[in-house]
């Protein structure tokens, strides 16, 4: 609330969310306020089950809060109509998941192109397919997978898949990258490569990144850390 004057890039106001399990309401978020400035690299840390993934889903409009608001550039976005929210997800947010979540039937190139296929109609996509291929090629180069473009996810290693997922998140030229445990499934050195990639994206392109992790060492690489504990913000502090 106090950040109104500067209009943060993405902010959450008093987010409250609970899931119903059988007859019992399980609160996951209990009034979380977070705001992220443009070009910031924020990591959200917490134990398993503290609600950090849920918070990321709510921020990325995959889920809607019971109470509270999500604001993009000061505008409330969580109560927009479904179609607009789908469009925002496609244009504004890029997602990176712990389990990569690539489509197994498609090649790396096609996986990377999926957001553009979703954005454009079949006819328009077909007309501009060469242009899109080029963009995708550049991005794949950027994440260092040029030699893998024609491969299926099943033929790639974990690190490669995660880089592919990042490439897919980048192709739609998002304003905010939401990464859910991007290194959670990788060994330390591969994880470090991914973190380097994210950091370089943040620094070179001023991409706002919100990363969720339970690993303190990984979280420390972000510029700022938000600690969640049982659905509440524990501390706000600058990363080292």
């Amino acid at each position: 609330m106090s950040k109104h004057r500067s209009k943060p890039h993405l902010s959450a106001v008093a987010l409250t969310k609970s899931y119903t399990k059988g007859e019992i309401q399980v609160p996951v978020l209990r009034g979380v306020d977070v705001s992220v400035e443009r070009g910031e690299f924020v990591s959200i840390v917490g134990q398993s089950g503290c609600g950090k993934s849920t918070m990321m889903h709510v921020l990325g409009l995959l889920d809607s809060p019971d109470i509270g608001e999500v604001r993009l550039n000061g505008e409330r976005i969580d109560d927009l109509p479904l179609g607009t929210r789908d469009e925002l997800r496609n244009h504004v947010f890029g997602f990176v998941f712990q389990f990569y979540h690539l489509l197994p039937e498609l090649t790396l190139m096609e996986n990377v192109l999926t957001p553009l296929m979703i954005r454009h109609s079949a006819w328009e996509y077909f007309k501009r397919r060469h242009e899109f291929r080029e963009i995708a090629g550049e991005i794949i180069n950027r994440v260092g997978l040029a030699h893998r473009a024609k491969h299926r996810p099943s033929e790639m290693s974990g690190g490669e898949m995660q880089r592919a997922a990042i490439a897919r998140a980048l192709i739609s030229k998002p304003e905010v990258l939401l990464a859910d445990e991007p290194t959670g499934n990788l060994d330390a050195s591969t994880g470090a490569e991914i973190m380097d990639l994210l950091k370089s994206l943040n620094e070179d392109e001023q991409l706002t990144i919100i990363m969720v992790t339970h690993d303190g060492a990984i979280a420390d690489q972000a510029k700022r850390i938000v600690r969640l504990f049982e659905g509440r913000i524990q501390t706000l502090e600058e990363a080292a």
């Binding site: 849920t54 889903h57 990325g60 995959l62 889920d63 479904l82 179609g83 789908d86 469009e87 925002l88 997800r89 496609n90 244009h91 997602f95 998941f97 979540h101 690539l102 489509l103 197994p104 039937e105 498609l106 096609e110 999926t114 957001p115 296929m117 979703i118 954005r119 454009h120 109609s121 079949a122 996509y125 077909f126 897919r168 739609s172």
Partner: protein, 556 residues
């Protein structure tokens, strides 16, 4: 775009989808094959039904017929002349065909069959509904493979006449010889009616002094048969003849003018339906069914019918000229054609004043059959010329309506039942799609996270269903058409494999299985299959669309 890409990928990577494609394909192929064969049979049946019934028929309600046929024909031309191609007056009357099965010591055994006797004028009949292509004597004799082993006795397109073929003449000689020989052995067991019994009023010379139809040079023998006058075995026959070669003078002592050569065929000649005088016999050794004739062309048979007025039997002897086989067992087992004048004379239908015989039926051939309804309406409304209490006017389809409708309904029901096959395939698609949706739950979550709308996700599966339908029905159509095209080869292969004939051509008289592919039917079947495939994918697609993105992403 992603919808097309994903559905085509799912199509290519899911073997289970192949199962639904095959079920759609089989359904479509079956439907096409069954429909084509049924339509083929129906067309063939219509052709055969139509072949012996003319386009439009005016029938006198009285079996005595209507007098002055020339005037009636003129009326038809006056009323509907612009549509009419030809009119043929005929006499149609029920009767009985009798022939001798065997000769016994004490009594002969006869077979009597109920028949419809149709008196025709060959050239006129030819114009309204030609029967010559059905006559066996006008068809080349073929072996099993369809190779011609003997040419037809008469050229098939030569004009219909009542002449005996050379073969029939030869057979007649043998037959007469045999008969006389038996008569000698057994004695005359039953008085044959050897001569044409003309009504008393009939001037004999008209009937009997006509030129010899054989074209023999010999004059018509009126008195005795001398051995040298008779070639071949007939000469020997006369020596065995107990009546001493002078049967005529024995029976009709006076009036030599009425005496005719007993070898000469009778003036009443017949074309007889094959099933009346032959029976099918299955040879156990060769497994071939053949028709065993009881009466062959050249032999004499008895025909009985009724005279005009109060029912009184009229009987005459006639010589069988040829056998016809139209393929409609109903016709082949009841129709007997004879010269119209003979029938008119026997039945007493001749008008003594005008010399014209009465007719019971006018057969009309139209220039274009599509006008049939109109012509019938016009003729019916001309009540002064064709009063409804005297004449019954109908098209051949109206006459045959019950049969045609029954076949029509039968094919509709069969179609509905067969469409259930495709519906079953549809439920298969439904089940398989549900499985695929469950399997793809996480991918659906990903797509939603990437901004795909619910409608977009739904259309992936609808497109998938449609492409299953398109591929399935496309392959099905091709398979069905190929099957129809090669149906006879397939039938042969199956017959060879199973060792007994699938399609017995003696039952239907078809050399091959008739088929008729209607483009409309193929289109409808293919479209129907596609619609069913799409409908079956609606439910799973809706389920996919309604998945919550987060829950879908977390789905394990």
């Amino acid at each position: 775009m992603y919808k097309l890409l994903l559905s085509s990928r799912y199509l290519r990577t899911r073997f289970i989808a192949l199962a639904s494609i095959i079920s759609v394909m089989l359904g479509v192929a079956t439907l096409i094959v069954v429909n084509s064969v049924m339509t083929g049979f129906r067309y063939e049946m219509r052709d055969r039904l139509h072949s012996l019934i003319s386009d439009v028929v005016i029938e006198s309600r009285s079996t005595d017929g209507a007098s002055n046929p020339e005037e009636l024909v003129q009326h038809v031309w006056d009323v509907a002349g612009e549509y009419v191609d030809a009119v043929a007056p005929t006499v149609e009357i029920y009767g009985m065909l009798s022939f001798k099965l065997s000769e016994g010591m004490h009594s002969d055994e006869y077979a009597h069959c109920p028949v419809t006797i149709i008196g025709i004028d060959p050239s006129q009949q030819d114009a309204v509904s030609p029967i010559r292509q059905h006559l066996i004597g006008r068809q080349p004799e073929t072996d099993d493979e369809g190779h011609v082993i003997a040419p037809p006795l008469f050229p098939v397109d030569s004009l219909l006449n009542w002449e005996l073929s050379e073969n029939a003449k030869e057979h007649r000689k043998d037959w007469l010889y045999n008969r006389r020989w038996k008569e000698m052995v057994y004695g005359e067991t039953q008085p044959e009616q050897p001569f044409y019994e003309a009504p008393a009023s009939e001037a004999a010379p008209v009937a009997y002094s006509e030129p010899d139809p054989f074209g023999h040079d010999e004059p018509i023998r009126t008195t005795e048969l001398t051995p040298d006058a008779q070639p071949g075995q007939a000469a020997t026959a006369s020596t065995f003849d107990p009546t001493g070669g002078q049967p005529a003078s024995d029976l009709f002592g006076s009036a030599p003018i009425k005496v005719r050569d007993p070898d000469e065929p009778f003036p009443a000649r017949l074309y007889v339906g094959q099933n009346l005088i032959a029976f099918p016999y299955k040879n156990e050794e060769t497994k071939e069914t053949e028709m065993i004739p009881l009466v062959r062309p050249g032999e004499d048979v008895q025909v009985s019918t009724i005279k005009t007025g109060l029912p009184e039997p009229a009987r005459f002897t006639a010589t069988v000229v040829d056998v016809f086989r139209s393929g409609m067992s109903e016709f082949d087992s009841s129709f007997v054609f004879c010269p119209i004048e003979e029938l008119q004379k026997v039945r007493g239908m001749m008008d003594p004043s005008s010399g014209q015989g009465d007719v019971t039926m006018l057969k009309i051939k139209l220039k274009n059959y599509d006008d049939a309804g109109l012509v019938v309406d016009r003729l019916r409304s001309a009540t002064d010329l064709f009063p409804a209490h005297l004449f019954n006017i109908y098209t051949w389809e109206q006459k045959r309506a019950p049969l045609l409708q029954a076949v029509e309904i039968e094919s509709k029901i069969l179609n509905m039942l067969l469409f259930l096959i495709i519906a079953v395939a549809g439920f298969g698609i439904l089940a398989i799609f549900y499985m695929i949706v469950v399997e793809k739950t996480r991918d659906i979550g990903i797509l939603k996270a990437l901004g795909a709308t619910s409608n977009g996700v739904m259309s992936i599966f609808l497109t998938y269903g449609l492409s299953l339908g398109v591929v399935g029905s496309g392959v099905g159509v091709i398979m069905g058409l190929l099957f129809v095209h090669y149906i006879n080869e397939i039938e042969k292969a199956i017959s060879w494999l199973t060792g007994h004939k699938v399609f017995d051509d003696t039952i239907y008289y078809f050399k091959s299985i008739p088929t008729e592919v209607s483009p409309w039917m193929v289109t409808w079947v293919a479209l129907g299959a596609m619609v069913i495939a799409v409908l079956a994918s609606v439910l799973p697609a809706r389920r996919a669309a309604r998945l919550h993105p987060v829950r879908a992403l977390r789905y394990e």
